[in-house]
Symmetry: C2
């Protein structure tokens, strides 16, 4: 059964796609044009009642929330492809910790920054330089903590690549390649090395090449 992934051009969906590529799971994509509000269509809301992407269909099984989908496939195909959850309960715990940090500390300011520097007009938001500045300042504090962490371990959860790293790819790509904010990464030696490492993986190159953003 081929996994159907809805909304491949969106940032959060790319997390899922990279995970599937790393695990060697076959998938097909179903376009959802969020610039036209297709994620609020009644048919789509039957799959994802909150009206956001992504969602997957795998036979009769439907699942949403990008980080939940990554966990599901990383666990279901544990012995296939790259191990993405660590090898012990303690390593898995740290994967979960950094996945939560990404969701609660990194993603919110990175998202606001992207909205007020890049994507606002597409979604009817007037870019506000003050909001952009405030969120960049928040991101600086978060990245300083990342720098300390990554000076002690190669990846966020330890010396192994995991879904916690994957989860950072789409918005760090915006920071480096779309918003002229690359200095936020390059001013931090260990964050910079980590970014070079994770963004040069064939899985990310494949996904970013196939499914260009609107967001």
């Amino acid at each position: 059964m081929v996994v159907k992934v809805y909304g491949p051009h969106c940032a959060s969906t790319k997390r899922v796609l990279v995970c599937l590529v790393e695990k060697g799971v076959e998938f097909e994509v179903v376009p959802v044009d969020v610039t036209k509000g297709e994620q609020k269509d009644p048919e789509y809301l039957k799959l994802q009642p909150f009206g956001v992407v992504p969602v997957i269909k795998d036979g009769d099984y439907t699942l949403y929330e990008s980080r939940a989908i990554m966990r599901y496939y990383a666990e279901k195909y544990r012995s296939q492809g790259v191990e993405l959850l660590g090898r012990t309960a303690e390593e898995r715990g740290l994967v979960e910790q950094w996945l939560e940090v990404e969701a609660h500390n990194f993603q919110p300011p990175a998202y606001e920054l992207a909205m007020h520097v890049l994507f606002g007009p597409i979604f009817g938001i007037t870019p506000d330089p003050k909001v952009a500045e405030e969120n960049e300042a928040k991101l600086v504090k978060v990245l300083d903590i990342y720098e300390d962490r990554l000076s002690k371990s190669k990846y966020l959860a330890g010396d192994f690549f995991s879904i916690a790293d994957i989860s950072h790819l789409p918005f760090t790509d915006y920071i480096v390649n779309k918003m002229e904010k690359e200095y936020l990464i390059r001013e931090r030696k260990h964050v910079s090395g980590w970014w070079d490492d994770i963004s040069s993986r064939p899985s990310w190159k494949k996904v970013i090449d196939l499914y260009r953003p609107p967001i």
Copy 2:
């Protein structure tokens, strides 16, 4: 080794405590007075660099982020106490989905509501009725989706209790018992029944009785 849990009086820490009680894991608590800003003390920041509660110490192992800690103990003591992750990969997937929904859809408006109705003055925030109103409106939409979900299954992830349900306890308690917003729950038959069920568990009664909020 007894697990040390920092900041037992805070909402997010209570998730962890309920999980530990359900799994029959022994713990001791270490007070962190967030009304005095103790979560920003240098010694505390060595454990949790973002300066928030909770964090746990289990021998040499340190872990933060309440939902990550719940996952760790629910997994580590899988065969002990109540099963909190479902029994199959598909059930676990849905636990993860609803845990993410709680974190991204339920908690943010519930938190803002609590700040602007209950706790603002403690933390130097002037309560703003307009912000409270906006967040109550967001919560209404989320709870309507919950009502639909809970009309089809006894708990959020299915017909089994899980860490996804536990995660809702502290803020739903504020809504029902502290903010005079009980109608948000009672106007929805299935949400109301679910709340009665999960809040009558001995684990929650024990935790709420032992560790009263400031937040």
